[in-house]
């Protein structure tokens, strides 16, 4: 599992935007700079949407905060690096290279829980 630099995340997001992919879709089918598939998760109304997502190994998952409140994407059990505080419209991306089930939550609103299943 690798966690890309912020710069690379920015490029990936720019590509998504330039390709005209609807980023409001729950799981946009797009490609990152390295050719990995990108799956979008919206953070909206204090919930992750979709709450559970199944992705292939090597996929990149990008969370975008659509709330007026900040949120922090945090892995339960520290399986991947947590995000910084995501303000409104901020995004955070993680590439999942290993199969497994990854539970995560918002560290400041811990009732917000989501799951990523990597196959």
């Amino acid at each position: 599992m690798t966690v890309a630099a912020t710069l690379r995340l920015g490029c990936a997001l720019m590509m998504v935007a330039l390709c005209g992919v609807d980023r409001s879709a729950v799981a946009a089918d797009a490609s990152s700079a390295e050719g990995a598939k990108v799956f979008q998760i919206d953070i909206r109304n204090f919930a992750f949407a979709p709450k559970t997502i199944t992705v292939p190994a090597g996929a990149r998952v990008v969370w975008t905060n659509r709330d007026e409140e900040p949120h922090v994407v945090t892995s339960a059990g520290a399986q991947f690096t947590s995000s910084k505080a995501l303000d409104t419209s901020d995004s955070y991306g993680v590439t999942f290279s290993k199969q497994g089930t990854y539970t995560y939550y918002c560290s400041i609103h811990p009732m917000m829980v989501g799951t990523i299943i990597v196959q």
Binding site: N45, F46, A47, D67, E68, E69, P70, V72, T74, A76, K84, A85, D87, T88, T103, Y104, Y105, S107, I108, H109, P110, M111, V113
Partner: protein
């Protein structure tokens, strides 16, 4: 048991009255071991006459927030501090019950610290909100605002015969859970209270509510029941919290729970709407109505506390 909810349905007279005093803060008056709450700036001189001492609680300043319904949270905090400074009788201290900042950024802490210097009080006690501990488990918060009594950040002190306890319930939160005190803090609390006689008035404060106010929105603390079990033998217990940006009260035996309004922006009533974010629909000229304070008096009955609540009139 009695639940009193904050309901912004005051009449026009009430609205105009509230417009005259911007900001939010509660003046707490200690009278014969019982805590009385008084809105800042309204008849406080007369009410404070027979109080042994007073302190002021403010909460949820959210420095760094700059969206609807409040584009200038520094200004509304500053207005609250001006009201505190206008008190005829100087409060013994100031209490900030967390969410000083919105994103735990150093510049936000700088701004908050600078603004708080405008308060003419001897000391300000702080507890962190979850917005103050993002990314570093509160290291920066505790470095700047901690009392440095215990490694975990919690603390206690005595003032005028009253025992005050500051608790931390915004760290080590688990997925799917609420606020958390943790085993270490509970052991400390039990020991801290052990030597006190049951007629010692207690004031316990933390950021998140210490009772299950609305768990679906995270408004509660997972292990608060254990903490409350240590408090029940005391004759006068006041539990002060922030976090939910509105007044909610509950009386349970000798324990009175009270949540404070925010100096920054209101949040919806429990379960009203999709989530607990800022009430964006509040217009600028009505904002102060939600940041205002109601008069809450705690009076001792025969063997339990009774609470009456009055709106400003």
């Amino acid at each position: 048991m009695q639940d009193v909810h904050d309901n912004p349905t005051e009449g026009r007279r009430q609205f105009l009255k509230c417009m005259a005093w911007a900001g939010a803060g509660t003046l707490w008056l200690m009278k014969s071991g019982v805590l009385h709450a008084q809105p800042l700036g309204d008849g406080t001189a007369a009410a404070a006459k027979d109080a042994s001492f007073s302190f002021v609680q403010i909460s949820d300043s959210h420095i760094g927030f700059h969206k609807a319904p409040n584009m200038d949270v520094a200004a509304t905090l500053r207005q609250s501090l001006a009201l505190i400074n206008a008190q005829a009788n100087r409060p013994a201290f100031l209490l900030h019950t967390g969410d000083l900042t919105h994103l735990s950024r150093p510049d936000e802490f700088d701004t908050l610290a600078g603004l708080m210097q405008e308060a003419h009080v001897g000391h300000t006690f702080y507890v962190p909100g979850e917005h103050d501990v993002i990314g570093d488990n509160g290291a920066e918060f505790f470095r700047r605002f901690g009392e440095r009594q215990q490694a975990g950040g919690w603390y206690s002190f005595d003032q005028g015969g009253v025992h005050f306890v500051g608790l931390i319930n915004v760290l080590n939160l688990r997925a799917g859970g609420l606020g958390s005190l943790g085993a270490d803090q509970l052991v400390w609390l039990k020991n801290d209270l052990a030597g006190l006689s049951s007629d010692t008035p207690l004031v316990v404060f933390a950021h998140m509510p210490l009772w299950p106010l609305y768990p679906a929105w995270g408004w509660g603390t997972d292990d608060s029941a254990e903490a409350l079990s240590y408090l029940r033998r005391f004759g006068s217990v006041s539990v002060l919290n922030g976090h939910i940006h509105q007044i909610q009260q509950k009386v349970e035996g000798t324990i009175t729970f009270y949540t404070a309004r925010s100096t920054a922006y209101p949040q919806p009533a429990p379960g009203v709407g999709p989530g607990p974010g800022p009430l964006q629909s509040v217009t600028a000229d009505a904002l102060h109505r939600y940041l205002g304070i109601r008069d809450v008096r705690h009076v001792r009955g025969t063997d339990a506390l009774a609470v009456t609540e009055e709106v400003l009139s």
